[in-house]
């Protein structure tokens, strides 16, 4: 019961801060709201007994990515958006977004979890440890994707340098 209440509160914060992201005029405020949303998501990860994911969420998302974004916002020194999009554009976009929401909820209400059940229950997470479970999976079953991420990061580094560097 208490857990549900807590969930509701955090969920409300997440949604509200999400809405703030898309309504704040100042990009910095948007960014800060987004960080708040990320923290809420991290909280959910904890509630879902995935503490390692929560840590990564805070460190990578809220820490690295958002810092980068905020840094760029400051670097480019963009303050507020001079003028919003025309109201009918906003209206149409919102209607489409709400349709997405409506349809998603519609089908979620009509479907149940049908996937094959695995072994990872609360007891196992507690006994083995979440980090170890993740680590094992990452370096056995998903070794190849893990290696691909290294290439991906390389491309990102090279790409960022190539695109934004002034002169060689």
């Amino acid at each position: 019961m208490l857990e549900s209440l807590f969930f509701l509160i955090v969920a409300a914060v997440a949604v509200l801060s999400g809405i703030l992201v898309i309504t704040c005029k100042n990009p910095i405020n948007s960014a800060l709201s987004l960080i708040l949303t990320f923290f809420c998501v991290a909280t959910f990860y904890v509630m879902l007994e995935a503490p390692f994911m929560a840590a990564v969420q805070v460190i990578v998302y809220a820490g690295a990515i958002m810092v980068l974004i905020v840094f760029v916002i400051m670097l480019l020194n963009i303050k507020t958006e001079t003028d919003k999009r025309t109201s009918h554009a906003v209206l149409i976009s919102s209607i489409i977004g709400l349709f997405v929401l409506f349809e998603t909820i519609y089908f979620l209400n009509r479907s149940s979890l049908t996937g094959s059940k695995g072994l990872m229950d609360s007891a196992m997470i507690k006994s083995v440890g979440h980090t170890e479970i993740i680590g094992k999976a990452l370096f056995t079953d998903f070794l190849l994707p893990f290696e691909i991420t290294s290439l991906l990061l390389l491309v990102a580094i090279v790409g960022a340098v190539v695109v934004s560097k002034r002169k060689i």
């Binding site: 999009r85 554009a89 149409i92 976009s93 489409i96 349709f99 997405v100 349809e103 519609y106 089908f107």
Partner: protein, 668 residues
Amino acid sequence: MFDNVWLIPLFPLIGFLINGLFGKAIKEEKVIGGIGALMVFCSFVVASMTLFKMISLPGHERVHNVTLFTWIKSGTFQADIAFLIDPLSCVMLMVVTGVGFLIHVYSIGYMHGEEGFYRFFAYLNLFTFSMLLLVMGNNLLLMFVGWEGVGLCSYLLIGYYFHKKSAGDAGKKAFVMNRVGDFGFLLGLFTLYWYMGSKHGIWTIQFTELAKHAELYPVGGVVTALTLFFFLGATGKSAQIPLYTWLPDAMEGPTPVSALIHAATMVTAGVYMIGRMNFLFIKAPETMMVVAIIGAATALFAATIGTAQNDIKRVLAYSTVSQLGYMFLAMGVGAFAAGIFHLMTHAFFKACLFLGSGAVIHSMHHALHHAHSHDDPQDMRNMGGLKSKMPMTFLTFLLATIAIAGIPGFAGFFSKDEILWQAFANPHHGTLNFALWGCGAIAAGLTAFYMFRLVFMTFFGDCRINPKCKDHLHESPMVIVFPLIVLAFLSVVGGYIGMPKIIGELLGGIPNYFEHFLAPVFEFSEEYVKSQAHATAHHSLVLEWGLMGVSVVIALVGISIAFVLYIASPSLPAKFTAAFPALHRAVYNKWYIDELYDFLFVNPCKALGNFLWKGFDVVVVDGIVDGVGKSVLGISAALKNLQSGYVHNYALSMALGVVVIIAFYLFR
């Protein structure tokens, strides 16, 4: 047996490669033209050998598939590079290589000094190659390759004088209209392939295979649909209603091109295709009716337009459309052999006519050029009295004209009369037969009229050409005249190999060699028609003789009208008034009769012709084609505007797509 037939298309291909790649470097016109003509001649020799070998074989051994290699193969589907050698393709080979060779020779003289001489010969050889591929291909796909190839060459050659905007436009029009037809061809191909495969497990597009299973095709239904698709392809390529307007415009190309591509060979591809697939068409009575009606209508319709033209080549162009209509009429009434026969004789006399007109234009052009006159060298109103200036051209032209007009004894008579008789007596269309025959007969009269009008206006009467130019008019060189003589000879004697039965019997039992020769190809259709119970309607000999007489009389009437209008009347009044003043009144009356003729016959006809040409042709047909084009371009512009450049709009279209698709799956 026929292992060396692959040489036939190979020679023109070699010619194309030599002229195309090295032509610019060779420079010497005689060498370029010589190579081009020689290669086609080599093909002609091989084709003749093939023909003789074919004749020496008994009837049931006359169909051969010569496979070179497998082209596409996957599972059940197979298409080879393979040639089908049978009487039908032999006839076409002779026409394409024979007439093609003569026109190549002619071009050496005609194109002398033109910019891009090598280009012309390269295209011409490429065309010959594609046409041979079309004719010899043993499956639908290979035929389609040739089909597209000839369209491409036609486009390139129509636009040969690219400096003229009209030439470029005409080329484009021809290409696009042909594509509409090709679309029909491909659909027919796919439908046939799918139907035979899914229904009977026979995944094939090879003609002999398809023919072997001819009894499997149901009557009507899907066969009607697919034959209509094929017929759509034929209307595009062979310039039938409604896709015929490109052909008159195609006269923008050099005259040898008009003779070879737009009279003798390429435009007959549609007829050939129907002949090749006769076993399918015979099973689709509705399609046969459509083919016959379209053919007859085109024959009549184009002939009326022909009466109102003053450009010498345009008259011939409409004449071609009209004669092609005859061939389709023959196909539509099940007289396949007669249609192919007319195809052949038409190739002779129409090529002769075009080349003759080319000689006239050539001569006119030079004369006008010398005199710095800007008169149109193709306008018949600027000609007249050329008989004495160009005697050989005149003679050959006259012979070919007599042949096309259907005067007994000449090639056109035999083939046209056979078609008209079959249109009347065929067992397929019941009461419609009389109308088909009527259309054909009237068109025959009109043909005689406008062709002799052309001859009279061009070669007879006073010379209306600019006096300064008169002395520069002279006969063309031998290289031009020689093909004319050969073709004129063929237009005279070419008909005797296919004499109608009744004439042959009268002359002591001469059989219809041509029909016998082609019999193996149309065997199934013949048998099928015979097996239908109602097919046994018998007509008396008297009726056949009578109809033949009627068609001859109609032709003679047409010629007489032309004679009265363009030869007799201008000179008669003057003579009469000078010699017999008393008869002035009678002369006046004579005039009055002319006026009556004019009023009753010629003017309405001209008006109709003009109306059909300017009204229907230009406004309706072109209008529809243009209209479709314009509306597509309008949609294009609208779609283009959606591409606004704003990321938001793009993202919006994506999100909208997602919403709509999900909604479809949730609420279907």
